[in-house]
């Protein structure tokens, strides 16, 4: 209690004397920037997730070949999640004499939980959004099914034992996705009619799905329960399973966003470190005095710790409020670019702000704090007596721990976090060494330049330690921002080029082997631009290194796979391990796998996989792993063999193309000429992906702007940190006869030199960092001179500008104070 009273009293006094204002302001600005970015990442991230969820028609799905246990639906409802049921089965649908294999989808009310159905009166028409489902006794065939059966609105279709009237044509549904296992066209019926069709026989291939939507936390809780109690055959699916394209975009945007908030955290850490050090340095006298007056070490420590805690709390409140206001202002400014309303901001960022403020204060202030308590009381008499120097590890360890904790807390991934911290350490060492070198050089040149500049440079060289510290602080801030801006540019470029206006919008599957040349010619003749045409055969993975594959619910091992072989890698595929086929690999028993397949089954190079391909067993060795850009919308396969191995086995071919039918009959003509070819229009999916990417771009841009603001906060804090020292020196210099102009020019040349040095170092460091990080995020990196120059001159301008602003008030300090 006495501690608290003492701490409060001390804080009040320091507040009155103005001591506290700087640290509190720096901390508040830091927390504001941090929570601002946090709020923004949180809200935009959730909007992005919502958009991406449309592909699943839900936030997540529970799937099984058996009826799902009723406990799941109950569990979901207890957690406040929305649910809907979807039962899918393959069945032949009849209309008079005509029949067609169709994917019968029986949906319960609520479906789709995300996105919307589009229906029309005619097949292949534009379609209007609806929130209804077919009524009992009715059905909605999709355009392909209606065309194949010659069905129109009013036609009666026989589905199993039940006649259903076509009331609308289904134009699109959010979950049509790009899962090419669904070769058959779809028929949507009401789940209440399902039993009457009598299609649910023990032998029939049915998939039961429970669709879930709701709060992230509730979903996470559900997922945890599910993983603990999951029964064989039950499977969890979320966005990344449903659409690799959208999953990809959302994942990379998410990574960028967490990286951006991490940068904000680190910028703030720098700001806090700079101000905390200054604050504690100014505390030396007070502590020595308290000791002279009889205070014990533990008491002094307690009071100071409490003071810092109270300070962190106050800063969190002020900064949190500021951050919230800034992000809502920023979002209003961006409102025109966002298509849907953003979900409201959560409280998490404020909490994170507090934790980070405390962690940073502890990490960066603790060493100085412990030092502080060792200040000998003798300091009261002899100012030159300071605390004994701390062991280096004691000074660095808490800061390092704080950084690791914060980085891991943001990225949630150990390897990436450790890489990040290591890279950060390298950057700091690089900046410090470069800074020391440049400061030394500036000291050398100071004799040969004009007076004011010389004074600036001389100051720089004379205060070598603090100059280097400032260069590291400015440089680190700018470096992080530059890396982020390089990444932002690459990410956005990458997205834009990955979905060019000419991206394929149709997939063609089941192209007969003997007709595939003609089909290609027919597409070209209709003005379409087909991509590569790949052979396809169905097969099942049955053993890995001789051990039979368990049907364990692991998604990729569970079902029949589409296999292909190809000579070409394609620029949408990148080898990440092993090597691609050479001429001598033809017909060798090798295989190249997509990275998703590798991760799902935990495979490594050289593993032997045995496939069952139409009853024939084939054993192959894993020769390479590929990173596939699914959002290229070109034909791509998880499993690719070298040419010559399976040449005789091809069941069919597939391709994709940009195709705009010139006349309404064109597509129908194509269907008639190649009746067995399945045609998928993925225009809607493409639009969904575009929408996600647009949102991701907005997110990345606005979070970037916010992080820039955080960077300015750091500069401000760094400049403020030297304010007291400057104020004192200015007063003496003026008493000795220095004019204001001279002092200003000298300060400006000092800041300009720091800015130039920090700018050059950080721009070069950023180029390297950008290159390394781009590899982490699977981006193409290109060195960019404009960014380098804008880094250098931007830093120069901003540092000089903040230097000017920080120096100006000290010039008004009356030289009279030197007499006191």
């Amino acid at each position: 209690m006495q501690l608290l009273r003492m701490a409060l009293r001390a804080l009040r006094r320091e507040w009155r004397s103005g001591e506290l204002a700087i640290l509190l302001a720096a901390l508040s600005v830091a927390v504001a920037a941090l929570t601002g970015v946090g709020f923004l990442v949180d809200r935009i991230g959730r909007a992005l997730q919502a958009q991406a969820s449309e592909v699943l028609a839900a936030d997540a799905r529970l799937e099984s070949a058996e009826t799902l246990a009723p406990q799941w639906a109950q569990q979901a409802q207890t957690l406040g999640l929305q649910t809907a049921r979807l039962t899918t089965l393959l069945s032949v649908v009849f209309h008079d004499e005509q029949s067609q294999l169709a994917n019968v989808r029986a949906a319960s009310s609520g479906y789709p939980l995300r996105g919307a159905l589009k229906i029309a009166a005619q097949p292949f028409a534009a379609g209007a959004t609806t929130h209804e489902l077919p009524a009992t006794g009715e059905c909605w065939p999709d355009s392909r099914l209606a065309a194949a059966l010659g069905a129109q609105v009013g036609t009666i279709l026989n589905v199993g034992a039940l006649p259903l009237r076509v009331s609308r044509i289904l134009i699109s549904r959010p979950d049509q996705g790009s899962a090419f296992v669904e070769f058959a066209p779809a028929l949507l019926i009401n789940s209440a009619d399902l039993a009457a069709t009598r299609l649910l026989q023990p032998a029939s291939r049915v998939e039961y799905a429970l669709l879930l939507a709701g709060k992230r936390q509730a979903l996470a809780d559900f997922h945890r329960t599910f993983e603990a109690q999951q029964r064989a055959g039950e499977r969890w699916a979320d966005v990344s399973d449903a659409s690799p394209q959208i999953g990809d975009a959302a994942r990379r945007a998410g990574r960028f966003l967490s990286l951006a908030s991490l940068v904000a955290v680190l910028l703030c850490a720098v700001a806090v470190a700079m101000s905390a050090r200054g604050y504690l340095a100014r505390h030396l006298d007070a502590v020595a005095l308290m000791k002279t007056l009889g205070a014990r070490r533990r008491f002094v420590l307690g009071v100071t710790v409490l003071q810092l805690l109270l300070l962190a709390l106050a800063a969190t409140l002020i900064g949190g409020a500021l951050g919230w206001m800034m992000q809502s202002w920023l979002l209003r400014a961006l409102a025109g670019f966002l298509r849907t309303d953003l979900p409201p901001a959560g409280w998490a960022p404020v909490l994170i702000g507090l934790v980070v403020a405390v962690a940073m204060l502890a990490g960066f202030a603790l060493p100085s704090l412990l030092q502080l308590t060792r200040v000998p009381a003798l300091r009261v008499l002899r100012r030159d007596v300071g605390p004994p120097p701390a062991a280096l590890w004691l000074a660095l360890l808490p800061a390092l721990l704080a950084i690791v904790a914060v980085v891991y807390g943001t990225l949630n991934e150990w390897t990436l976090s450790l890489w990040f911290v290591a890279a950060l350490a390298v950057m700091i060492v690089f900046l410090a060494l470069g800074g020391a070198l440049l400061v030394w050089f500036a000291g050398l040149t100071r004799r040969s330049v004009a007076l004011t500049l010389r004074h600036g440079l001389a100051n720089l060289a004379r205060r070598r330690a603090s100059s280097v510290a400032q260069i590291v602080a400015f440089g680190l801030g700018v470096l992080l921002l530059l890396v982020l801006s390089i990444l932002r540019r690459d990410l956005i470029n990458d997205w834009r080029t990955s979905l060019p206006p000419g991206a394929p919008n149709y997939f063609f599957v089941n192209i007969p082997v003997e007709q595939h040349e003609q089909f290609r010619a027919a597409l070209l003749a209709q003005g379409a631009s087909p991509e590569r045409m790949l052979p396809m055969v169905r097969g099942r993975l049955i053993a890995i290194n001789g051990a039979a594959v368990q049907r364990s619910g692991r998604r990729l091992a569970d079902r029949e796979q589409n296999l292909t072989w190809s000579n070409e890698l394609g620029d949408d595929n990148r080898i990440i391990a092993g090597r691609w086929w050479r001429a001598e690999d033809a017909a060798k028993p090798l295989v190249s796998l997509a990275s998703e397949f590798q991760e799902s089954l935990g495979l490594k190079l050289g593993d032997r996989l045995r496939f069952d391909i139409a009853g024939e067993l084939l054993e192959v060795k894993v020769a390479s792993f590929r990173k596939v850009r699914w959002d290229s919308f070109r034909p791509n396969f998880f499993i690719v063999f070298p040419p010559g191995l399976l040449d005789g086995a091809a069941g069919s071919f597939m391709t994709s193309a940009r195709y705009e039918p010139r006349a309404p009959g064109d597509l129908a003509a194509l269907v008639q000429r190649f009746p067995s070819v399945s045609i998928f229009n993925i225009g809607d999916l493409l639009a969904q992906v575009r929408a996600v990417i647009d949102k991701a771009v907005t997110a990345v841009q606005s979070v970037f702007v916010f992080t820039l603001l955080a960077g300015l906060a750091v500069l401000w804090a760094a400049v403020q940190a030297s304010r007291d020292e400057r104020r004192y020196e200015t007063a003496i210099m003026r008493a000795l006869g220095a004019g204001r102009g001279m002092l200003m020019r000298s300060a400006l040349s000092e800041f300009a030199a720091i800015g130039l040095l920090a700018g050059m170092l950080s721009a070069s460091g950023a180029a390297l960092g950008g290159y390394l990080l781009a590899r982490q995020l699977d981006l193409h990196y290109r060195f960019n001179w404009p960014i380098w120059f804008s880094g250098v001159f931007g830093t120069l301008l901003v540092v000089s500008g903040s230097g000017y602003l920080a120096t100006r008030p000290t010039l008004n300090q009356s030289p009279r104070t030197v007499l006191n």
Partner: protein
Amino acid sequence: MREVSFAVHARETVAVVGPSGAGKSTLLALLAGLDTPSSGKVWLAGQDLTALDEDGRASLRAARVGFVFQSFHLLPALTALENVMLPLELARRRDAAASAQAMLARVGLAERAGHYPRQLSGGEQQRVAMARAAVGEPVVLFADEPTGNLDAATGERIIQLFFELNAASDTTLVLVTHDRALADLCQRVLTMDSGALFDSGRPS
């Protein structure tokens, strides 16, 4: 400050004494142009300080005035030599380093030129401060309690040095002090009390 009016002649040595809070430091600030009076005028070396702006007063100080402070006020980031060079640099003198080194030798600190203030004792710091004040060959040297922070023996040596420098370079000396012994060494003593000034004339 009430109705204070007096003149100090060239090469005169004047002490200002008086109890704490009497206004001694304020008077000194006005004399050196560190502060301006709300009414009245101050002339320094033939110039009306009240007619000059801040920077004008600063350049006058740079050219004509030397300062010694009670708490030394050396710049902590500069070495002893660099501190002494400062006024010369401000006056744009080319021989700053050489003159400063010579002046440090005169106060007996040639060996300590490369030391930082925190590495020097109080007496040494004040000697550096005196070297800094004298190096520019000022017309007037102002000193604010120059021995206030020093023990008696060190203070005595400093005072000795003060008058040596004053004699050698014909400088006018105005010092504020509590130290009666120091005041007695001056040609004239002014006593301040509650903002009023009494000329006590020559010390006894």
